[in-house]
């Protein structure tokens, strides 16, 4: 039941924020903050329980779940369940959720109540996506999180918001419909084989599908997820959506919405279609490597700060594709870390871009420059997260990219080599941010204040996480271990597991 409360609290908080926001915008802000805070406490409690439990028993299927009938005629259940992977992503959701409310404190001044309603409902939808264990429910939440996001971009976005919101919505809807078709295909194949028509994840898991059908069904799922991820030919919605969204929207888009795509690949594509996924490995690697390089190249070419960060997301998410389709423990663990790392570091860069825009009303890096002397604190933060984004050892992104590349190396040497070039490219564009914005001589005299207490709180929290996880990634790896094992089990890679695992611990603990 506790999982349902995570979602219900956010939804109720959203409605309450909307109603009270009409009286005083401050109510809306505080209500949102409090409801996400309650959620965070619940998540922390689950996290602690989970940590205690992994040492006791060997990987249980779900850690906690709630299951009740929803539409019994179709075999649809309201089934929320949580394992390590979900837990990590839910924790990321509430963390970035809290920050999103805080960064909107001064930025959003219009329709504050409705803004927070949308914000909380997106978060509720995302938590639903990460915990749904019924495919219909998953699709339901998948769509539910899009509508408020659409409003967030369309109402509170920047100049070109209408175009961006259209593009975002239509891309994700179209790909979502393909996924719905694939879900239905799976549902009927399972039903005709066993006579049980159900959307239950665990039951559908072992469905035997003939290879050609499996390939098309996998494509249906995969297209939805790589559009969200986004992988390269499907990425064109992302720069627009990220750039036009308000800061909180960009943070949620980059930090959480993209993760739902990665989560879908890990949770559904690989376990449901192990053979088809293996056949798809090379293509996925090519898409991943292309994404890494192409994203980095475009990021380097941008003059709009938010657009730059957006393209860097494309580059980072290429690693996810690479890691997910390497099918070994190193790379899968790396993928999980990458999801967290990207959420934190890109989120931080978007927040910085938002803070800059709030102060100087532009995102054009050509008119910035020399800001370090005016806002040293902000400059320092910018440098830190640019370094995180380029994968400096000691920060969490390094762990992620290192694990992914060393795992991918076992799968495909050439493409991994090409993908590794992305590390150089990311150095170039990340340093360019610092160079153009904070160093050099000032292009214009901006009379701007440095970070205030609220902003220091936000950036401080992000810094703590990025350093802490960079030094002790094992905290996350422990949690995701059982989920990664489950994924590897589903593709029949159990035998090498322990061997690999020792290697992993050696690497991460520096033995």
């Amino acid at each position: 039941m506790i999982l349902a409360w995570l979602i219900i609290i956010l939804m109720l908080g959203g409605i309450l924020a909307w109603i009270t926001g009409r009286i005083n915008p401050l109510f809306a802000r505080w209500i949102s903050l409090v409801s996400i805070f309650i959620d965070s406490i619940i998540v922390i409690k689950i996290w602690i329980d989970y940590k205690q439990q992994i040492n006791l028993t060997a990987s249980p299927s779900w850690f906690i779940e709630i299951n009740s009938k929803w539409v019994p005629q179709f075999g649809i259940n309201f089934h929320l369940a949580l394992d390590g992977l979900s837990l990590i992503l839910v924790a990321l959701t509430v963390f970035l959720g809290l920050l999103s409310v805080l960064i909107s404190w001064k930025e959003i001044n219009e329709r504050v109540g409705f803004f927070h309603f949308n914000l909380l409902w997106i978060l509720a939808g995302i938590i639903g996506v990460f915990t749904a264990s019924d495919l219909f429910l998953f699709y339901f939440f998948w769509e539910v999180m899009l509508i408020p996001m659409y409003f967030l971009i369309g109402i509170w976005g920047h100049e070109n918001r209408i175009y961006a919101s259209y593009k975002f919505f239509i891309f994700t809807q179209a790909s979502g419909l393909l996924m719905l078709l694939a879900i239905l295909g799976l549902y009927f194949i399972h039903g005709s084989q066993t006579g049980i028509y159900t959307f239950e994840y665990m039951q559908l898991l072992g469905t035997k599908i003939n290879p050609s059908t499996a390939f098309f069904l996998m494509l249906g799922f995969l297209i939805a997820f790589v559009v969200k991820l986004p992988a390269v030919p499907f990425h064109s919605w992302l720069p627009d959506a990220h750039t036009e969204a308000p800061t909180a929207g960009s943070v949620i888009l980059a930090g959480l919405l993209l993760k739902t795509g990665a989560y879908g690949i890990l949770r559904f594509v690989i376990p449901f279609f192990p053979d088809a996924s293996k056949d798809f490995q090379t293509v996925a690697f090519i898409l991943g490597a292309a994404g890494i390089l192409y994203g980095a190249m475009l990021a380097f070419a941008q003059t709009d700060l938010k657009r730059l960060v957006a393209y860097s997301s494309v580059s980072h998410m290429g690693f996810v594709l690479l890691g997910a389709f390497s099918f070994n423990q190193l790379s899968l663990q790396g993928t999980v870390i990458q999801l967290v790392a990207h959420g934190i570091s890109t989120g931080a860069l978007f927040i910085l871009a938002g803070m800059l825009q709030e102060r100087i009303h532009t995102r054009d890096i050509n008119v910035m420059g020399g800001l370090w002397s005016k806002v040293p604190f902000m400059g320092g933060m910018g440098l830190l997260f640019a370094l995180a984004s380029l994968g400096l050892p000691g920060l969490v992104n390094f762990i992620a990219e290192f694990l992914i590349l060393s795992g991918a190396y076992q799968a495909n040497i050439v493409l991994t080599g090409i993908a590794a070039l992305g590390l150089i490219a990311s150095t170039i564009y990340s340093l360019r941010i610092v160079q153009k914005v904070f160093y050099g001589s000032p292009v214009k005299e901006w009379p701007i204040p440095d970070l205030n207490a609220r902003e220091i709180l936000i950036m401080g929290a992000l810094t703590v996480v990025v350093v802490w996880l960079g030094l002790f990634p094992q905290h996350v790896l422990d949690i995701s271990k059982s989920s990664v094992k489950k994924i590897l089990n589903s593709i029949g890679k159990t035998e090498v597991l322990d061997n690999n695992h020792n290697k992993l611990e050696e690497i991460t603990l520096g033995k």
């Binding site: 539409v71 019994p72 005629q73 219909f136 409003f151 259209y166 393909l178 719905l180 078709l181 239905l184």
Partner: protein, 479 residues
């Protein structure tokens, strides 16, 4: 006719009796409010008797009418739609200064025609119902004559509908000539024995023309946007629901009873209509600036979707098309409801521009409209989503991959124009000055509130409705 048979016809008798009562009351003294309440009470009575007839079903009344759970459900659905049409049109009619009460008579007659179609299993009752329906519609379309083009639209509909009826009649004649039967069960037997001959295929094709016209399937859809635009918003809602619902019910019964799914030629014909309707409807809607025309084109594409479920056939096909129809009725009535609530008697809010900035002026109303549009687009939390899911499921179950993929593609196109209205409502600039003094009537608000609740209810908790539909589909298949 036995007492038992008469007992089973009570819903139809009430629907036929109310207009007589209204006419009598007009003869004594005209009173709009009285007629309005009489109509509502009459509908409620009809509803109660529908529920009380359910345990008696199925009953074949002579050879032409069948009262079973299928027809009762459809009659109930049609009557419920009329209930909302009454609530929404009260304000319009109230402002008309003459002949207000006749509106209710015409609506009841149209409902009677539609209900007869829903419960017909014979060509004669089909045609009879169709004509009762059409003749009342001619009057209804041009009933509110403030707009310049309403009379034109009425005459347009008159001519086209008569031509399509002629097609239908000719088709029936050809089929009768080949098989010598006019009742559906008899036809089914004869068809099984003789198969489809060239002449009977021509007959079926002609019938499809007639049916396609009423359901506004492409290429028989030309009248739809003009009529929807010219008729007043509640009447457009009425045409979109009641006139199509009856025809669809009889088509479903006809096709299922004849087991049309096993004849490739018929399936092909319907598949072409379905694909053409889905694509054309959605593509043409992209070009419109008039909300009523958009809704007209969207209704064309929605019947394309329903045809996919219809072609899926079997129990699932009946269930999904019926569910979709119900969801669609609620949604489209809601959409036209918004238009009528925002419209004045002589000044309808039909352009997208009229909705600009609506969210900032009337947040609740625009949220309701957004919910309706999302339901039309098939987005979760709304009835349209479950409906679309159901239709897709039926299609996938019968491996109609081409149709299902076209459906998915078409609904993405559709998304674009629904979003256009939504975006316009949420955009900042506002051109609503002329409507700021518009007062909402209680009846309109009540109708919209109820419809919104239904849209959300069917979207979040559809099991209740699905259960009803599943039992009726089971009964329907079993004999």
């Amino acid at each position: 006719m036995s007492f038992f048979e008469i007992e089973s016809l009570r819903p139809l008798i009430i629907i036929a009796g109310i207009p007589v009562l209204i006419m009598l009351s007009i003869a004594v003294k005209r009173n709009h409010l009285f007629t309005f309440w009489l109509s509502l009470i009459g509908l409620c009575a009809a509803f109660i008797f529908i529920l009380r007839t359910v345990p008696l079903a199925p009953i074949q009344v002579k050879t032409i009418i069948i009262v079973d759970s299928f027809s009762l459900f459809y009659i109930g659905l049609l009557a419920a739609s009329v209930f909302f049409v009454f609530l929404l049109s009260f304000n319009y009619i109230n402002k008309q200064d003459h002949n207000r009460e006749e509106f209710y008579i015409l609506i009841f007659l149209a409902l009677l025609g539609s209900s007869v179609m829903a419960s017909s299993n014979h060509f004669v009752s089909l045609f009879l119902g169709l004509e009762i329906l059409s003749v009342s519609l001619y009057g209804l379309i041009s009933f509110i004559q403030v707009k310049d083009n309403s009379l034109e639209a009425g005459i347009k509909y008159l001519i086209l509908a008569s031509v399509s009826s002629a097609f239908l009649l000719f088709g029936m004649a050809l089929i009768y000539a080949v098989y010598g039967r006019m009742d559906f069960p008899g036809l089914a037997e004869a068809l099984k024995l003789n198969g489809i001959t060239p002449v009977s295929l021509a007959g079926f094709a002609l019938i499809i023309v007639g049916v396609g016209f009423k359901l506004a399937l492409v290429p028989f859809h030309m009248w739809t946007p003009d009529i929807y635009q010219a008729a007043s918003a509640p009447v457009s809602g009425f045409i979109a629901t009641v006139s199509k619902g009856g025809m669809f019910a009889v088509l479903l019964r006809f096709y299922t009873e004849l087991n049309g799914h096993q004849y490739k030629s018929l399936t092909l014909l319907f598949s072409i209509l379905a694909i053409a309707s889905m694509l054309t409807g959605n593509l043409l809607a992209l070009l419109q600036n008039n909300v009523k025309r958009i809704l007209a084109y969207s209704s064309i594409s929605h019947f394309g979707y329903i045809l996919v479920a219809f072609l899926a056939g079997g129990k699932m096909g009946i269930e999904s098309s019926t569910f979709y129809l119900a969801a669609y009725f609620v949604t489209i009535l809601g959409s036209f409801g918004i238009v009528s609530v925002l419209s004045d008697y002589d000044n309808e809010a039909e352009l997208i521009d009229n909705y600009q900035g609506l969210f900032w002026k009337r947040p609740l109303l625009s949220i309701v409209f957004t919910a309706m549009l999302f339901s039309l687009a098939g987005i979760p939390l709304t009835a349209g989503f479950i409906g679309k899911y159901y239709v897709l499921a039926a299609g996938v179950n019968s491996s109609l991959w081409l149709l299902v993929i076209v459906l998915a593609g078409a609904s993405v196109i559709g998304l674009y124009y629904y979003l256009r209205i939504v975006v316009s409502m949420f955009s900042q600039s506002s051109s609503l000055q002329n409507q700021s003094n518009l007062k909402f009537t209680l009846s309109g608000t009540a109708a919209l509130g109820l419809l919104t609740v239904l849209v959300i209810l069917f979207g979040v908790y559809p099991s209740g409705l699905i259960e009803v539909i599943q039992t009726l589909a089971k009964n329907f298949i079993s004999y």
